[in-house]
Amino acid sequence: MNELAVLDLVLEQELDRNPDLVFLATSTPPSWRTRFGAERVRTCPISEPAMVGAALGAAMTGLRPVVDLNRASFAFLVMDQLVNHAARIHYLSDGSYRAPMVLTSATRGPQQLGPQNEQCPYGVFMQTPGVRVAVPGSATDACALLRTAVRDEQGPVLLFIAPGLADHCDLRAALAAEPQPFGVAHRVREGDAATVVAIGSAVHAATRAGDELAAEGVHVELLDPRTLVPLDLPALAASVLRTGRLVLVDDGPRSGAPAQILAALLDVPGVALALGGRIAHVSAPEVPVPSSPVLEAQYWATPERVTAAVRRLTAAA
């Protein structure tokens, strides 16, 4: 089940709310099976491609499937069913079929799961048209985005959850969170010195960096996109046009989400000129995630790395 336990509470409420909602996972809570029936809460063999394909068929015929993939690494197991089929059916059928389905998975936490089971692959899914990608930066947003994902009828959603969101979870706020529309960035902090765009687990580190810099009189604007597809490009571009400095912060590789956000921003008239080269990345290196905590230490977007990047950009003319 979910690394972020509050998501299970939200999902249980949503199962209660909508009789068409079904849950597929390799492990399911016995209490859910009792309460909602084994036909809606399906314990499946370890067959993620079949589970996602079945979710698509169920979605196309009127149900709202949620598949718990467990780890984000397992998203690579289901690429054909998710990308070639679920993400394409609405387009391919020219709008006559819909595939409202949700895939949840955990990205990275300090869990020492190593190169195979720990990664932030959401950047890959910014290149697969038809999939929407949510990467919340707080437990409250995770709950709000999950509610939106299971209620809307638009198509497949990948919800990537950083296990570390549990460390800063305001349980009451998270449970009370209303559905959050996709494509609306959250302005975590206002400022003019630089625009910091942080994703998922990196939002907390960037928030601490912003606090530290504010104590020195450097006020950055911190934006959490919350969804990478659709991306709130107008909000990001407006901020960058005002500050003229951009720091992209992610616990995944720079070639993933950061590179694609930057490319999209540079396409907005005026942004390239406003930035004038004042761009920095705080991201994981382009290698797999190692297991030893000593080796892994340099893979995290720490507050220290973020403040160093901001200082470097603000020191430049």
Binding site: R42, G53, L56, H90, L92, G155
Partner: protein, 338 residues
């Protein structure tokens, strides 16, 4: 290089042919339409009117028609890239299908799908371009029937090449364990693309693979419309009653080999093998049944001319349909988008 493998000694015997209440004239009419359509579409591809590849269904008509005759409108269907036959047997609109193959605005999917059509009106979910990939999707439709308790079943067509794909085995296990109302129809034509199945599989029949997943299996002569229909009707009845899935292995053969782009594709199969199957043409076989039962030959001949007339009208419709507006390429990414 063909591995020397024994014939399939322990594979379960084929179901004996029997009359499952099939309307033989209606079945013959449907098969004649598919035959006329596929021959015409191949010509239209040679004439560069049809876009993309054409995978003709000629020779396998008895499978699509025998199975679809056992279905009800509420049932769901999943096809694949050799799917015109399934679509026509299911009653997909001939004009819209043809315009789609021509890439035109009035096509079933607005020109976005070509042969890989979807059609909600006939519950045709998709025609996957990826071998085996539609099978779990059909399983999902069967899950919906189970949740809704609406008595619908899901049917998926695939070639024996699909049994090479891992997701198919996953789905067989899941479907049996969850007793899904799912009917898997394997059109075993002995080839996977240009590769003979015995070169890459332990045996040419896939029945024992399905049995290994504890799936009830019917083996039938896929060129015998009555046998196919009887197996389908029995499987549908079991699935509708909530007693789980079934696997039908229909042995058949492609009269026109495999795939055409700009030019008709060459024949590469052994001549004696091809001749043997041509002598067992499914339309001839059903025509024989009908004549033996006293049906007037004139009636059957009239079905041929009517099919040719309908197909020609569909081609004319597709030709006059406009090309889609280029900006429509950006539409319908997901629901709610323009």
């Amino acid at each position: 290089m063909a591995l020397a493998l024994p014939a399939d000694p322990a594979v379960s015997p084929m179901d004996p042919p029997q009359d499952g209440g099939l309307d033989l004239v209606a079945a013959y009419k449907a098969m004649v339409l598919i035959r006329a359509y596929e021959e015409r579409i191949l010509q239209a591809r040679t004439d560069r009117e049809v876009i993309g590849p054409v995978h003709p269904y000629i020779g396998q008509e008895a499978v699509a028609v025998g199975v679809c005759a056992a279905l009800q409108p509420r049932d769901h269907l999943v096809s694949h890239y050799r799917g015109h036959g399934h679509a026509l047997a299911r009653g997909v609109d001939l004009d819209a299908l043809t315009a789609e193959l021509f890439g035109r605005a009035d096509g079933l999917c607005g020109g976005k799908a070509a042969a890989l059509v979807s059609d909600p009106a006939t519950h045709l979910l998709l025609s996957s371009g990826i071998v085996g990939a539609g099978i779990p999707v059909a399983a999902g439709a069967a899950m919906t029937s189970q949740v809704r308790r609406d008595g619908a079943v899901a049917v998926v067509f695939f070639g024996e090449g699909a049994l090479g794909a891992g997701v198919v085995h996953e789905t067989l296990t899941l479907a049996v364990a969850q007793r899904l109302p799912l009917i898997l129809v394997c059109e075993n034509n002995g080839y996977q693309g240009a590769t003979r199945t015995e070169e890459v599989y332990p045996e040419t029949s896939v029945a024992r693979i399905a049995e290994g997943h504890r799936m009830p299996v019917h083996r039938v002569d896929g060129n015998d419309t009555l046998a196919v229909h009887a197996a389908a009707a029995a499987s549908v009845a079991v699935a509708r009653a909530g007693q789980g899935p079934a696997f039908i292995e229909a042995s058949t053969y492609l009269t026109r080999f495999h795939l055409q782009f700009d030019r008709p594709s060459g024949e590469r199969r052994p001549a004696e093998e091809l001749d043997g199957w041509l002598a067992r043409d499914p339309l001839d076989a059903l025509r024989g049944h009908l004549l033996a039962a006293g049906t007037a030959p004139d009636l059957l001949d009239a079905l041929h001319s009517e099919a040719e007339r309908r197909v020609e009208a569909a081609v004319a419709f597709a030709r006059t349909s406009p090309w889609p507006a280029p900006e429509l390429a950006l539409t319908n990414l997901w629901a709610g988008t323009p």
